[in-house]
């Protein structure tokens, strides 16, 4: 750690001027180069700097070192720039855990495989699974049974509507891209790859609106049964395999979505109490 400077050391007055920023650029750079290599002068800088500043930094380092590594979804959420409390709330949702996502991905893959194997005549498995994956994900993202933080959330002054919408958004972000990719592999007309988005995005607000009255589990059951009825009914009738996602039906989904959003907004507006609306 010794340098060419040998036994020379900057005196405290010079170092104070350096710390105060009173040295011109070249002298400052020169002091800096010396200090970074000289143990004695580093120690002098340590005595001259505010002890509170050094203590504050050390407290942060200790926290950073002692804190356990957060679970993976939380790290992803933090990486995306979400504040830590939000990341914790998201990560505790059951449907944002790895196991759930893998399950959703597998069932969607099998549905796609079935549609692919049939050569486009049997689209029912894909049309059944693709819109229900986000719906079930959202339903599992909150509620007393799924949420490990439920007891905390009920007592915390944190808007429940906000929490639920936040988690809904997170579920959609985590499920929709995979489904969209798989949709590209489904045989049939090109627009089919995007057409399932209509019911998928419509069923989520319907679920949320229903959940406000009967709870997420029951609402998810109702929505799943109704959607299965639509898809299987169309297959049974028999209508074209793409019937559930054709233009006229898409209009109905949009209408449903608008109505559901209106119900949610109304209830959120009348019930000021957090947690009642959803």
């Amino acid at each position: 750690m010794t340098t060419r400077t040998g036994e020379w050391h900057a005196d405290p007055a010079l170092l104070s001027r350096y710390l105060a920023g009173d040295l011109d650029a070249v002298t400052g750079a020169s002091v800096e180069q010396h200090v970074s290599r000289c143990e004695t002068c580093r120690a002098t800088v340590g005595r001259l700097l505010e002890p509170q500043l050094l203590e504050r930094t050390w407290a942060g380092i200790r926290d950073g070192v002692e804190r356990p590594t957060p679970p993976y979804p939380m790290r992803v959420a933090r990486r995306l720039g979400l504040p830590e409390p939000t990341a914790v709330l998201l990560a505790s949702a059951a449907s944002l855990r790895g196991a759930w996502l893998v399950g959703a991905f597998l069932s969607l893959s099998f549905a796609t495989l079935a549609a692919y194997a049939s050569g486009g005549t049997a689209l029912a498995p894909f049309l059944l699974a693709a819109p229900l994956a986000p719906v079930l994900g959202v339903a599992a993202a909150y509620g007393p049974r799924q949420d490990s933080l439920e007891a905390l959330i009920v007592t915390a002054p944190y808007g429940r509507t906000r929490l639920i919408l936040l988690r809904t958004l997170a579920v959609l972000v985590s499920v929709l891209p995979v489904t969209a990719l798989l949709g590209l592999a489904v045989p049939g007309p090109a627009w089919l790859a995007a057409a399932w988005l209509g019911p998928a995005l419509a069923l989520v607000p319907v679920l949320l609106a229903l959940a406000g009255f009967v709870g997420p589990r029951f609402a998810a059951t109702v929505v799943s049964l109704v959607w299965s009825g639509v898809v299987l009914g169309a297959t049974w009738a028999p209508l074209a395999p793409t019937w559930p996602v054709e233009a006229a039906q898409q209009g109905v989904y949009v209408g449903l979505a608008v109505a559901a959003c209106a119900v949610i907004a109304l209830r959120a507006g009348t019930d000021r109490q957090p947690g009642v609306a959803l």
Binding site: L14, S30, Q33, L53, I61
Partner: protein, 189 residues
């Protein structure tokens, strides 16, 4: 100062790699202060400096194994800290890097005390005079690459110019300095 035998920095880093938080504390006591001081000369926001130093030591805690035992611990820590600072600068516009070479034009006229002269002489030979004669663009490149140890690519990002511009400026700055010094200095790539 205690009478206990002084452990080398590199040995302390090895101890940190084995999970010794006492060694981390000791390294912080040795290197924390000057890192603060050096960063504070480059950033006007002490909150940012505190966070950068914290990040640096947390990185040290996690990545101590990556330290090459033949290197200098101080230089290694500075490399981590300054790179953190530069990347922060890119993501946060409100942090301002003090344009160090352009501040205090009046003080530049004032010749440093005899002691400073000794210091400059020992560290750089006639380099100080040469550096003073460089244009601000050239000096900021010399500062970023030679003194602060960034790569030309990183320096380009920091200074907001293309990497090739940095290389050209550095090349010309070195040529100018060589001319000032009459004989080429060792250690200038």
């Amino acid at each position: 100062m205690s009478t206990a035998p002084i452990v080398a920095d590199a040995a302390l880093v090895a101890a940190v790699a084995d999970g010794d938080s006492g060694a981390l504390r000791e390294l912080y006591q040795r290197h924390g202060a000057w890192l603060h001081a050096r960063l504070l000369r480059r950033c006007n926001d002490s909150e940012v400096v505190v966070e950068v130093v914290q990040d640096t030591f947390v990185v040290l805690w996690k990545d101590a194994r990556r330290f090459r035992q033949d290197g200098e611990v101080g230089a290694w820590l500075w490399g981590i800290a300054f790179r953190r600072m530069v990347s922060r600068l890119r993501s946060r516009r409100d942090v301002v890097l003090i344009p160090e070479w352009d501040v205090l034009p009046t003080l530049q006229q004032v010749m440093p005390s005899a002691e400073d002269q000794v210091l400059l002489g020992v560290e750089y030979g006639d380099l100080a005079a040469g550096l003073r004669r460089l244009s601000p663009e050239f000096r900021s490149v010399v500062q970023a690459v030679v003194l602060d140890g960034l790569t030309t690519k990183e320096a380009g990002r920091l200074l907001g110019v293309r990497e090739n511009t940095v290389k050209t400026r550095l090349h010309r700055a070195k040529a100018q300095l060589r001319a000032t010094l009459t004989e080429p200095q060792e250690g200038w790539r």
